[in-house]
């Protein structure tokens, strides 16, 4: 009897950590996979028409409207107000030129507001890229011009 009770002293008194570490590692891996899924996006404003149409101020020369123009079968071209960017050609080089011009325009401005107006037939990602370029040029407020806003509705 006394021998068997004495035999109990042979058991290890350490807690077995292995299963706990297994589970913690699995949890760690799973949270590492989940975290990067936070949605990202571009903030944009949609201007509301003035209550009184008479109030519509004529657009000042400080207003910047970037137009994205559809060119069949090619990348769209860009215009800042009525000025062609990159001689009316499209593509990545035109986007670089657009960003350089916008950076120059907004370098000395306190209120950095830009409007983006896209043709109906272009793909959405071209517009998203222009907003992205505006963000890169430190424009704070980017407004989207839609046909109904142009019509004053």
């Amino acid at each position: 009897m006394s021998m068997t009770t004495g035999g109990g002293g042979g058991y290890s008194s350490d807690i077995n950590m292995t299963p706990m570490i297994d589970i913690l590692l699995v949890l760690l891996i799973i949270f590492m996979v989940i975290v990067p899924v936070t949605p990202k996006g571009l903030d944009a404003l949609v201007p509301q028409p003035p209550k009184n149409p008479e109030q519509q101020k004529n657009p000042g020369d400080r207003t910047i409207v970037v137009q994205v123009l559809h060119q069949p079968g090619k990348n769209p071209s860009y215009k800042i107000n009525e000025t062609d960017v990159y001689n009316g050609a499209g593509g990545p080089a035109a986007q670089k030129e657009l960003q350089a011009r916008l950076t120059e325009i907004y370098a000395n401005r306190a209120e950095r507001v830009m409007f983006v107006k896209g043709d109906d037939d272009i793909d959405f990602h071209y517009v998203a890229e222009v907003i992205d370029i505006g963000r890169a040029a430190n424009v704070d407020h980017i407004g989207l011009m839609t046909p109904k806003i142009m019509a004053g509705q």
Partner: protein, 145 residues
């Protein structure tokens, strides 16, 4: 000598200990039960890739109003297909108790901009003046798309 070895061998259990494996499997089961609804509550959209996107954690919340525009011009409010003509009234109903909230637009990169414009116009008619265009972070440097 031979006898004692045989006795030692008889005491070793030949069963595999399945407890840790079952532990891990149960944890994985619970985690996939939690994740699966998070992955499936979205309309399949291939979003535009940009460099300067800001984080929009609000878009993942349960009460976020997300308008999706698919490549073929379909408009979804949350997960429900709707039409541009009904979108305005549906959004203003959803916005009734919380004005000034941001609406999120998940538009497909290759969706026609006309469809996106129409959706934005419909949302604008509901009194929204701030939209978040959800995008993805570009991974392979500029000039990729």
């Amino acid at each position: 000598m031979g006898i004692s070895v045989r006795n030692e061998g008889g005491k070793v259990s030949s069963n595999i200990n399945v407890t840790p494996m079952v532990d891990v499997m149960l944890v994985l089961l619970i985690i996939f039960m939690v994740i699966t609804p998070m992955l499936q509550n979205k309309v399949q959209i291939d979003m535009a890739k940009v460099d300067n996107a800001t984080a929009m954690p609000d878009a993942d919340k349960d009460d976020a109003i997300v308008v999706a525009v698919t490549r073929d011009g379909g408009v979804f409010l949350g997960q429900n297909k709707t039409s541009v003509s009904e979108l305005g009234s549906q959004v203003s109903t959803a916005l009734a108790d919380k004005p000034g909230k941001t609406i999120f637009i998940r538009a497909d990169a290759r969706a026609q901009y006309r469809a996106v414009e129409d959706a934005i116009d419909a949302v604008r008619s509901a009194g929204v003046d701030d939209v978040g265009l959800l995008t993805q972070k570009r991974e392979n440097g500029p000039g990729g798309a």
